[in-house]
Symmetry: D2
Subunit: 295 residues, 4 copies
């Protein structure tokens, strides 16, 4: 198929590469051109402007946040310049409010729209094993399906209202941050009784909590190594805020989210901007003054 | 070996059965005699009083809570009546404070003491696959090891201070309750956007959170079936309270624990005494008034 | 002086009336014209469009929230149409972010800007006894001072950065909501032990907490009478959200605010849209299931 | 009347002095004898053992906490040695559970028992202006009333179940700690926007929150002076824990209490053992890293 791909961060690059490898004709665009070189070397056409990537069967976008999506599609006018028959598959983790607005704006113009946020890190994307949530009109999904299957280990259909895929993504990320905060608090409790974080985390993540999230972030907590970020702490905060916003709009109290928000803000106040999400463990440690008392 | 076993609930029975099956000479005692019959039929001697079970190489106890342990060992005077050379292996989930007191009281009398709380439900106990945390003096542990290995999939040494095993057990249970509350809040958020709890939980527990705790409790939340209790809600509250107490004693703030406590108390206020821990999902649902709005 | 007044809700009407009574030439504008009649009868000129009210020495505005302020001043283009020498005195409780934006936009155009949020209900406004926080450039404040003094029991200077007055207003409202939640939780605890809310509140608000906020909202809690709203519950939520936003922007964790947010959202989920803020007491009561158990 | 008084800390001494000044025959006992000298100089008889103070019409006790009360009255055997016709008036802030136990133990022995916890600091006690909560059987209260009136600005009857007075005292102290935490968080928010704590607190405590609690603790927060303690931080934590315990026993969720507990524990972990309760402000400041960013 003739495919466009906008947004070539670590995730987007890996996803677009797989589309090329599967034999699709891919035109890419990225705000900074540097990121396009690798894709060009694999066979992608490089567009100078986003509208050039939006002339084909399907346009994928994997942008960083609400603001980038707004700038490119709404304020930047891309919606007006898209090929009328195209389906836009939006992989970004965005707010429920923007998801609804995008669904409307696409519908108004007769453009197809599929929300397709993903679970998985860049290595999973590179392996074509992402878990992809998919919501939108059946016909639009049908058209994009062969492309999504290239990228996914599994597709998870979430119905025809696009925001459902986004709310599930936010709910999932909320669960991830909770899991990390939970390990952070529990391991500081253990350490206060002279059990090492490494011993505690090894036990938990090889038994009751033997799952990717706990093992991945648990390793960082066990080793107290919070850089470089896999999932950057400010992005985790962004997602907790979006989950809270979704909860507010639907009148769903989420007391755990309130705790996560404060811990993440405290991490930032303590200079954690470039830490991994697992850096939440530093906040728990500081609250218990563990460093001081060990001296 | 000549072994005593006190406390024959679902867990204790399964553990004692395995000791018998492994060829040890087991004398059992339980407050209510009914529970001793099955063990007797397997070959156990039944003691009329707990001191009769405390004459041998090792005495295991698997009692319900601090109060039962206090009643039998401290107030009931069992400590005074134990065989001088015996090692007491205490499997109960008790407070750090009681763990310390028991360690002292045993030491004073020259009795061996090993804290050996377990992770695993009755079916895991029956299969001899428990994860057993083990802390105490090396010699005492050495003596009990052949018996522990009969019951365990794996032993997790936690050093020589018995309370360390207990604090790790409490920290682990705190993580379990957090995981459940996290699924409860997230799935109500999803439901408020018309994603079914079943779809949401299926996604989460077969991907990021594909671990026993999430899968087990997640199934109950997905099916909204909270009885009969696997892990009873009041026992979950008990363990959260003990984790908070351990945190307080060691000056470790645990904001998530505060949220769990309130949710569990709210569940009890709403009549949740005989629900499973996964019944926390009912509290999240009630807070969002989800039943009403669906009408 | 020649004065404009935009926004004639209960507060704005009372404030504008006092300016007229003090002999100033007041031109008023309000989105719905009905509200202008009373002021006209007192001697105000009624403007058909907001720009007509913005030709004079000082323009006061008392709009409901960020959105109204944006619509009138930014999107509606009023800033472009204001008399070049005028000082805009903004009494609304708005976000810190909007306060900063307005300060910049006024400065760009050479317009004076004073943030002057108020503490006090309509009856206090009518009596000219408001506590008014004042921040902005000294010259602008100086010009508006005679008018502010007509409305105020006391002026509280907060420096030259307008957003400071706004953040103090939000911090104050956060304290008000906390005080109410505190009475809500405490009085349900008392009631669970058969002490009436009325007895408990009477004691507290005539001794340790003998202050306007506790006495006013305490009376509603004691009488369990939550309508009509003095300070509407959704507005309280709006202000808690703005306080959280201000905290987020300045990296200030506010754990109490998280609790307030959840209680307010729960109140809304339970149908509390038209309750007074003191309706938070219903949430505490419901959590403890107090109605059911009293039956 | 013939009166005994046990427990001569700052509060007890002031209260006993007033009884002497009012012409009653007072026998005092205190664990450490030093404290009895001042009372002796005013005319009190000094008892060597507590039972000597318990022979008369009424015995007042003002001990520090549950443990002291248990040690003197239950474990120390004072209950057995009291004059059969005496009424015991217990002013201590104790747990609801102990209050119930004491009521039962006195009743069993035919001894009168009145719970009479007080609000007010030592200077208020010295002035005979305490607010005294009073609960117990009418006859017992009647007998003690003339003495209570000597000490009180006002008596607040709470019915015949003694624990009601205790739960109200705990609910009140919970409100005090909440008020302090509220000022702490709000003033750090203000400071992050360059409004001084002093300006912020002055505004709040002379307007909306012009009450003793806010003014007293607010002054400390404004001046950032947290020693010497008026109300020591660890005692505040004790009372929050007792309020939580009372909530737990009656199935009343109290989310604010959870926040207070964590803040107080964090204060202790940061070396706050000998600070005043207002030292909670240091925790808020540390969370926002305010000291660091000001450098």
């Amino acid at each position: 198929m003739k495919v466009g791909f906008i947004g070539l961060g670590a995730m987007g690059s890996a996803m677009a590469s797989n589309l090329i490898a599967a034999g699709h004709h891919v035109t890419v665009w990225n705000r900074s051109e540097a990121a396009t070189e690798k894709l060009a070397s694999l066979g992608a056409k490089v567009a100078r402007t986003p509208d050039r990537a939006a002339q084909g069967d399907v346009l994928h976008s994997m942008l960083a946040n609400d603001q980038s999506v707004r700038e490119v599609f709404l304020e930047g006018g891309l919606l007006e310049a898209m090929d009328p028959g195209i389906v836009h598959v939006n992989h970004a983790t965005i707010s429920v409010a923007l998801a609804r607005q995008l669904a409307e704006e696409h519908a108004k113009r007769g453009l197809g729209y599929v929300a397709a946020p993903v679970f998985g890190r860049p290595d999973v994307a590179a392996a074509g094993k992402l878990n992809i949530l998919v919501a939108g009109h059946a016909a639009a999904i049908e058209k994009a399906k062969p492309l999504l299957e290239v990228m996914a280990g599994k597709l998870w259909p979430m119905g025809d209202a696009p925001e459902r895929a986004n709310v599930v993504k936010l709910a999932g990320n909320f669960m991830i941050v909770t899991a990390i905060e939970s390990m952070a608090e529990a391991s500081v409790l253990a350490r206060a009784y002279d059990v090492s974080a490494a011993d505690f985390i090894a036990l938990m993540t090889s038994t009751l909590f033997a799952s990717p999230v706990y093992q991945g972030y648990g390793k960082s907590i066990a080793e107290q190594r919070f850089t470089p970020p896999g999932f950057a702490l400010p992005l985790g905060l962004k997602d907790v805020l979006l989950a809270q916003e979704a909860g507010l709009a639907a009148q769903v109290p989420m007391p755990l989210a309130g705790v996560l928000r404060d811990s993440l803000v405290e991490a930032l106040a303590d200079g954690g901007q470039s830490l991994d999400l697992s850096g939440l463990a530093r906040v728990s440690e500081r609250r218990a003054n563990l460093q001081q008392r060990k001296k």
